[in-house]
Amino acid sequence: MPSILFLDRETIFDEPGFFRDLNLDQVTNRVFAGMDQWKALFYTALTTPEAVMQRQRVMRDIERADVQAILQKFTTVMRDMESLRHRVETTYYPLQRHLWFLDAAYTYCQMVERLVVELADRGRLESDGMRAVLHYAMEYVASDGFRTFVRETATRREELGAIHYALHIRGNMVTVGSDQDTTDYRRDIEETFDRFRHQTVVHKAKALSDAPDMNHVEAQILDRVARLNPDPFKNLASYVEKYHERFVDPGIAQFHFEVQFFLKYWEFMQALASHGLAFCYPEIATDGADIYVYNGFDMALADKLSQAGRTPIGNDFVLRDLEQMAVVTGPNQGGKSTFARMVGQVHHIARLGLPVPGRRARLPVCDHIFTHFESGEPSPHVDGKLADDLRRIRAILDDTTSQSLVILNEIFSSTTLKDAKFLGEQILARIAAKGARAVVVTFIEEWAVFNDRTVSLVSEVLPDNPSRRTFKILRKPASGRSYAMTLAQQHGLTNEEIKERIGSASEPDASRASI
């Protein structure tokens, strides 16, 4: 049975420690709301560049609008089918039970056949994973067992669908008979009033709600209909007998499970993308060279802001060549923690083989992501807390390798400055010795020049108005761009961008024609 996940390790069912610090727990809950089984897939990172790239290819296939539509429909119908099967178990009247069963079976047959036809029709799938699934499904659909099932299902439906009956109600007497009359009184009425038809008035006649279960009057009517048409109902009974055991193929069921991992993440991405936020597939860094994400953003924050129709400010994280450690300093509330979370998030998402928040990225497959976020709350037992912190950090450092990412946020900020400086320097030296990459958010500016592999980043403030924050994290020295133009740029109001925006909006066809 083919898999599109390429899991190269056991699934992790417990939320990793860094999820909470990076607010990835919030992201998980948004992406997989009410879908606990899938959360484990979000916890479980892939460990090799190959597995990551294979998944990226699957995601690229799934992301294609046409394939996307097919798969969305597939999962929707699959869920409908499951609820029909559930209904079969819970329905009281036997005739109705049989009819529900037929419905579920028909839904299933249709769905699988359509999936194969549509996927095969959509040109070349690029990923091994999706190609294997398609191949598997094609063989299944062509198999004798499935063909027979489809044929019998269709015949049962035709027989039952051909039944028309007439109903007359007078007082308390209900009469059921066969129906040959083809008139439709409604058309006569429509014709009479046709000249008043008015485009701006559409009457929304409420569809009468109908519970799926039957009442005894309906059951009696169905019973009379079955008496008028004995053969189709007899055939239906033996069909149900024959296929009563599970008819859903395990391979199809597995695909249904796995594909939702991709679809759910895609939906989440799409919700943010509709607010103008970009996601990208990171290039997987297998050597030591540049690591970067441009215009990266914190997905949890983006999700929160988007509810209010706003978007977060994107930031660039770049480590060139031998650069190993980014030290972020600057005033409070300037977006430093958000920046650190963003860096952690993109590293984790990258190793899930999914697109990361940002315009362009090149990222490694980390073996570990370690975080230590100071809560900022003053602790009543400073000494005890410091000891706990140090123990935790020790544990982190023991497992750290050159392939790890360590994120330290305001570490030791609740101890004395002298202690903080001393302890911090020891720890930074250890991280440096391990060769791990690190993001360190701190108020201790000396660390910004810790060694020659350290990059200094600063959260930007306005000299004339320090209370205003841009949430930009910049490599010092600053780019020299004026603040106002930066702001204009953020609003897409540079000369070029305006022309592009007006041009592209007014000539949608021209751009299409030029392809």
């Binding site: 799926p212 039957m214 007006i502």
Partner: protein, 496 residues
């Protein structure tokens, strides 16, 4: 049965959402005061006037179509008023006769709708008679065609036919329906076959064989409810159709009300301005791509209504100009000048007459305004950020051929930065085919544009005499460095 008094083919949609950015535009143009006079504070008419003014026409032919109808309305106000009164009365009756909302059953809705159609039918006859009597008076294509349609579509024969139908729909002897097996074996595809013929005894169905009957026991309340439910399903479609027909007829009245309200609103303002002896002209709209901009004696109608007399007016001859830069004295009438153009353009593009002695303009694909706002826009947003956000929304909505009125944009930062942004924005808009009128204190930028001496840029400034007095008129001339804030200071601090 179309109304089509505001457009030869389309029904005027007075419920459409206002286009992006028009809320700011309405505010900047002080449209509320003008609409207040037109609508005489009637909320329905206000809604209609807002839509008519802010959802501009772009086809000069349609603009002329409305201008012609307006001329007829002004010439024969009593006929139009009579129609309007009849329409209002009908809709009032309908309001008292509503079919109990969505919750009521198809059969009770059907009864209510049948009654209502009967009622509205009587007023249709009255309306037709008014149209018949007044047809010869009208000259405009819109009113001539409308009155003719009423006369032809509502013949006596047709109205009799409707009466018979309404009688059948009461289903005195029950009805008979056909269906098939739906999901889960429940009935589906209910089709009403028609009323049961007037006959005593066995239903017509039962005479065909084979058939099976059963009875609901007398005390089986659930059974009766289930039966009522099935009956309602049978009636559902026909009920919906009849309700829809009633809605359509009411919709016709409502549409007519909206379109007549528009003209009556225009007429109210025209008469008001005539009483004040203020000039009005029938504007001459030119095609979108024509680049015509010429007017005489143009004044800010909102201001004139406020002060109740003649106010300063301006003239301009600026064909082929794509950017007008207005500089000069504070309190010199620059904002008024911008408003007078914005309002005139909105008036012209809704079919209304224009407060000027002559007005010839290309139709704009959209009118937008970007006025600096003095009040604080919110806690977490700086003024410049807010201005930029509004400009970004405008850029999102604007298209080539639009008109943008900018008033002191980007004054929320220092001049160097403001100019840097404004240059990029205005140049890009003009190059994209947007016509921009820019009132600004960014003198360095204005000066720079002036030196570039593009034939498509026109420079105006608020006139100011040597003694510091202002005429409130805009005159052509190079940008002036000072904004005369000192004047204002002197005026406020040395007088009185």
């Amino acid at each position: 049965m179309r109304v089509s008094l505001m457009h030869p083919e389309q029904a005027f949609d007075w419920r459409q959402p206002l286009p992006d950015g028009t809320r700011d535009l309405a505010k900047d143009m002080a449209l509320q005061g003008v609409i207040g006079v037109m609508a005489a504070d009637d909320p329905f008419v206000t809604q209609v006037m807002e839509r008519a003014l802010l959802c501009s026409l772009q086809d000069p032919a349609v603009i002329r179509y409305r201008q012609a109808v307006l001329a007829d309305v002004l010439a024969h106000p009593q006929v139009i008023q009579a129609m309007y009164d009849l329409v209002v009365e009908t809709l009032e009756q309908r309001r008292h006769h509503f079919w109990g909302g969505l919750a009521s059953s198809p059969s009770s809705k059907l009864h209510a709708a049948v009654d209502l159609i009967g009622l509205m039918g009587e007023n249709l006859v009255h309306l037709r008679d008014v149209a018949r009597d007044s047809r010869a008076l009208f000259r405009s294509e819109g009113l001539c065609a409308f009155t003719l349609r009423l006369d032809q579509d509502l013949s006596d024969d047709y109205l009799n036919h409707v009466k018979n139908r309404l009688r059948d729909l009461k289903f005195k002897n029950g009805f008979h329906m056909g269906m098939r097996l739906g999901r889960g074996g429940k009935g589906a595809g209910y089709v009403l076959k028609g009323p049961e013929p007037r006959r005593v005894g066995w239903p017509r169905l039962a005479r065909r064989e084979p058939s099976y009957s059963f009875h609901i026991a007398d005390r089986d309340e659930a059974g009766y409810r289930a039966l009522g439910d099935i009956r309602n399903r049978g009636l559902h479609d026909v009920s919906a159709t009849v309700v829809q027909a009633a809605e359509h007829i009411a919709g016709f009245f409502l549409q007519l009300k909206a379109e007549l309200a528009f003209y009556l609103g225009c007429a109210r303002l025209v008469n008001h301005l005539r009483d004040l002896e203020l000039p009005l002209c029938v504007p001459d709209p030119a095609e979108v791509d024509s680049s015509v901009m010429r007017f005489d004696g143009l004044y800010d109608v909102g201001l004139a209504l406020n002060v109740g007399r003649r106010v300063v007016s301006n003239s301009l001859d600026a064909d082929d100009v794509s950017l007008i830069v207005v500089t000069g004295a504070n309190q010199g009438g620059k904002s008024t000048f911008l408003r007078s153009i914005g309002l005139a353009q909105l008036f012209m593009q809704c079919g209304m007459y224009v407060p000027a002695t002559a007005y010839q303009m290309s139709v704009a694909t959209g009118v937008y305004s970007h006025f600096s706002r003095m009040e604080d826009a919110g806690m977490d947003r700086g003024k410049l950020d807010d201005e930029l956000a509004r400009m970004s929304q405008i850029v999102e909505a604007i298209s080539p051929g639009s008109l943008l009125l900018m008033n002191e944009s980007f004054a929320a930062t220092n001049e160097r930065e403001g100019a840097e942004i404004a240059r990029g924005v205005v140049d890009a808009l003009v190059e994209s085919g947007v016509k921009v009128i820019f009132v600004t204190h960014l003198w360095t930028l204005a000066e720079e544009w002036y030196r570039a001496s593009s034939p498509e840029t026109l420079f105006l400034r608020a006139e100011r005499f040597r003694d510091g007095q202002r005429s409130f008129k805009m005159i052509a001339g190079p940008p002036l460095e000072t904004s005369f804030g000192a004047d204002l200071y002197r005026q406020i601090f040395t007088q009185g």
